[in-house]
C-alpha cells in the first residue's frame, strides 16, 4: 500500500484537514490517483481516469488557498462520477460501445454545482450499459469486481461508483438510480447510497434511461458525508423541467437530532419468504437499536409490492425504447462502417453499437408500446403504478419512515445470473417501487454475512422529507459502529 494514506479519510475529515492547512489539495489528489493506479487493474471500476485534469484542479485550489481566496464547501474533495453524467471535455461512454468516443462539451448541472464548491473530479466510473443491469456485468468496458470478494458482483447499475468508493479510490462518488441502481450497489459494497426524491436533483446532463424514474444521488462512506454532498446536489434547475422548485433544507442540521417518538413502518411484504436469514437478522438488530432510541415500530402493508418488478420493467423499458431512439449513428456516437444506405445505417449502427441487455430492453419496451399491446401492457403498468404509489401514500398517513432490507440477499457471484435476465431483474425487488412512486430511499450498511459480505438497510421517507432519513440513519450508524470494518476489504 502507498505511503500517503489520505485516501482512507472521509469527505468530512479531508475537508477539515485541508481547511486547517494541514494537507494540500495536491497531496490528497495524488493519494487517490496512486490508489486508483494500484487497484483499478483488479477492480475495473474506472473507465476513464482524469489524472492530468485532477492534478491541475488541485494545484489551482492550492494556489487559491495560499492567496487566501474564498474556496467552496467541497474544496479538495476528490470525487468519482458515474459515466452517464456529462463532464465537459471528458468522454461520457454510458458503458456502451455506441458512445465509446463521445466527448460532451458541457457539464451536467450536478457537476457544475460540485465544481462551484471546488470538488476535484478523478474520473468516470464503470456501470451497466445505459444503467441497465443489477450486477455491472453489462458494461462494454468489462465487469466490475466487488472489493469485499473479487468473485462477487458489486451490484448495478452504479457498480463502479460503489466499488470505487468501498475500495478507497475516491472519497465519494455519484451514481444514478432508476430502479435501485444506487441502493443495490451501496448495499452490496457496504457504503451509504441515497436516491433523493424524484425532482430533488436536476437531471440536466444525465443521459436519460427512463425519464419518469431516473434520479442522481451520492455514494459516501458516512451519513454525514452523504448529507454534506446531497445539500450541494439538490435544488431547482430551469434546465430540467422535472426539477422541483422546493428549496433544499439543511440535511446536516438533521444529524444528531433525536428520533424519540418517530413512527417506523415495517412493510410485511418486505420481510417474507425469500429474505436471507442473515439479512433479516441484521435488519432486526438495527430495528432494535432504533427502538431503543425512542422510535416506535409498527407493522404496515404495501399490498401491491409483488407487482413492483413487472410494473417497473414495463415502464422503464418503454421509456428507454423511446429515449434510446436518439442513438442512430448519424450525429454522434458509433456508426456502422457496413451500411448500404441511410436506413441500413440506423439498423446496423444500433445493432452493432448496443449490447445484448440494452437491445433486450429496447425490444421489450418497443413491444409494450406497439399497436395492439399498448393498453394491455404499458397502460396496465401505469395503472398498477398508481396503486403502488397509493400504497405508500396510505402508509405514510400512519408512519413517518419506512425501514426495509435494501436487498433480499447479499451480493451474488459474477456470472451467476447473467444467463437468466428475469432472475437478474428480481434482484431489485425491494428497490423499484420507490422509483415508481418517486420516493427517496437511502441504503445504509447494517452488518455482514458469515462470508463477510456487506448487508444494507433501506430507509424510505415521504416525498421531499429526506431530513427524516438523515436523522434516523445518522443515529443508527453511530450505534452500529461498523465504520472501522470498511478497512477490511480485499484490495
Amino acid at each position: 500500500m502507498s505511503k500517503n494514506t489520505l485516501f482512507l479519510k472521509t469527505v468530512t475529515e479531508l475537508k477539515d484537514l485541508f481547511h486547517k492547512g494541514e494537507v494540500k489539495a495536491l497531496e490528497i489528489t495524488q493519494s487517490f490517483l496512486e490508489r486508483i493506479k494500484e487497484t483499478n487493474p483488479t477492480l475495473n471500476s474506472f473507465i476513464t481516469v482524469c489524472e492530468k485534469e485532477a492534478l491541475l484542479q488541485a494545484e489551482n485550489i492550492d494556489l487559491k488557498f495560499s492567496k487566501k481566496e474564498k474556496l467552496g464547501n467541497l474544496a479538495a474533495i476528490p470525487l468519482g462520477i458515474k459515466d452517464i453524467l456529462t463532464l465537459s471535455g471528458v468522454r461520457t461512454t454510458c458503458g456502451s460501445k455506441i458512445l465509446e468516443n463521445f466527448v460532451p462539451y458541457y457539464d451536467a448541472t450536478v457537476i457544475e454545482k460540485l465544481k462551484k464548491e471546488d470538488a476535484i473530479f478523478l474520473g468516470k466510473l464503470n456501470m451497466d450499459e445505459f444503467a441497465m443491469g443489477s450486477s455491472n456485468e453489462n458494461s462494454y468496458f468489462g465487469s466490475v469486481k466487488n472489493p469485499w470478494d473479487l468473485d462477487y458482483v458489486p451490484g448495478g447499475s452504479s457498480g463502479g461508483s460503489a466499488a470505487a468508493l468501498a475500495a478507497f479510490q475516491c472519497s465519494a462518488s455519484l451514481g444514478t438510480d432508476t430502479g435501485g441502481s444506487i441502493r443495490l450497489p451501496a448495499s452490496y459494497c457496504g457504503v451509504v447510497g441515497l436516491k433523493p426524491t424524484y425532482g430533488r436533483v436536476s437531471r440536466f446532463g444525465l443521459v436519460a434511461f427512463a425519464s419518469s424514474l431516473d434520479q442522481i444521488g451520492p455514494f459516501t462512506r458516512t451519513v454525514r458525508d452523504c448529507a454534506l454532498i446531497s445539500e450541494v446536489m439538490c435544488g431547482h434547475d430551469p434546465k430540467d423541467s422535472t426539477s422541483s422548485e422546493r428549496s433544499t433544507p439543511s440535511f446536516l442540521k438533521s444529524l444528531g437530532k433525536s428520533i424519540k417518538g418517530l413512527k417506523i413502518g415495517l412493510p410485511q411484504e418486505y420481510f417474507q419468504e425469500g429474505l436471507n436469514k442473515e439479512v433479516q437478522k441484521s435488519v432486526h438488530n438495527s430495528l432494535k437499536i432504533l427502538e431503543s432510541q425512542g422510535a416506535y415500530l409498527e407493522e404496515v402493508s404495501l399490498p401491491h409490492t409483488q407487482y413492483g418488478i413487472a410494473t417497473y420493467y414495463l415502464i422503464a423499458t418503454s421509456e428507454a425504447s423511446s429515449n434510446l431512439a436518439r442513438f442512430d449513428g448519424v450525429r454522434y456516437g458509433y456508426r456502422s462502417p457496413n451500411s448500404k444506405n441511410a436506413i441500413d445505417l440506423y439498423f446496423k449502427s444500433r445493432g452493432e453499437g448496443f449490447g445484448s441487455e440494452v437491445k433486450r430492453r429496447i425490444m421489450l419496451g418497443t413491444f409494450a408500446l406497439s399497436a395492439g399491446y399498448y393498453d394491455a401492457y404499458y397502460k396496465k403498468a401505469g395503472q398498477v403504478r398508481t396503486l403502488i404509489k397509493k400504497d405508500f401514500e396510505d402508509v405514510f398517513k400512519k408512519v413517518d419512515l419506512i425501514v426495509t432490507p435494501t436487498a433480499a440477499d447479499v451480493a451474488f457471484k459474477l456470472g451467476e445470473k447473467i444467463q437468466d435476465p428475469l432472475q437478474m431483474y428480481l434482484t431489485d425487488v425491494y428497490t423499484t417501487s420507490l422509483n415508481l412512486a418517486g420516493l427517496p430511499g437511502l441504503s445504509l450498511p447494517c452488518g455482514f454475512s458469515s462470508k463477510g459480505l456487506p448487508i444494507g438497510l433501506q430507509m424510505i421517507s415521504p416525498w421531499f422529507e429526506e431530513e427524516r432519513i438523515f436523522e434516523a440513519a445518522f443515529l443508527l450508524e453511530s450505534e452500529l459502529k461498523l465504520f472501522q470494518k470498511g478497512f477490511n476489504i480485499k484490495v
Binding site: T242, Y307, N341, A342, G351, I362, T366, S370
Partner: protein, 97 residues
C-alpha cells in the same frame, strides 16, 4: 404471451435494430419468459384506475425563445459527428433512384 420469431422480427424493425439469427432466437425465448412473469399484472383489478406516467405534478413550462448557440458550442457539437464534409454531417444516400 409467447413471442415467436416473426414477432421478434417485427419489433426489431420498429426499433431499428439489426439482430443476428442467434439473437432473434434467444430474444424470442427470453422475452416470452419475461412477459409470462409480467402478465401477473393481470391479477390486479385496475378498472377505473387512472394510469400514472409522472409522479410529480407536472405543469408545462415554455422556454423563452432566446436560445443562443455560441460558435464554440457549434464547433464542439460537430466534433462528435462520425463523418463530416465542410460544415455538414455526412450520411449515406437516403433516397435510391
Amino acid at each position: 404471451m409467447k413471442i415467436d420469431k416473426n414477432r421478434v422480427d417485427y419489433v426489431a424493425t420498429l426499433a431499428r435494430l439489426k439482430l443476428s439469427e442467434e439473437e432473434e432466437r434467444v430474444y424470442a425465448s427470453q422475452l416470452s419468459h419475461i412477459l409470462g412473469y409480467i402478465e401477473t399484472l393481470n391479477q390486479v383489478n385496475t378498472e377505473g384506475i387512472e394510469p400514472t406516467y409522472n409522479v410529480i405534478d407536472h405543469k408545462n413550462i415554455f422556454r423563452s425563445e432566446d436560445l443562443k448557440i455560441e460558435k464554440e458550442e457549434n464547433k464542439s457539437l460537430f466534433e462528435n459527428a462520425p463523418e463530416l464534409k465542410d460544415s455538414y454531417i455526412k450520411v449515406p444516400k437516403i433516397i435510391d433512384v
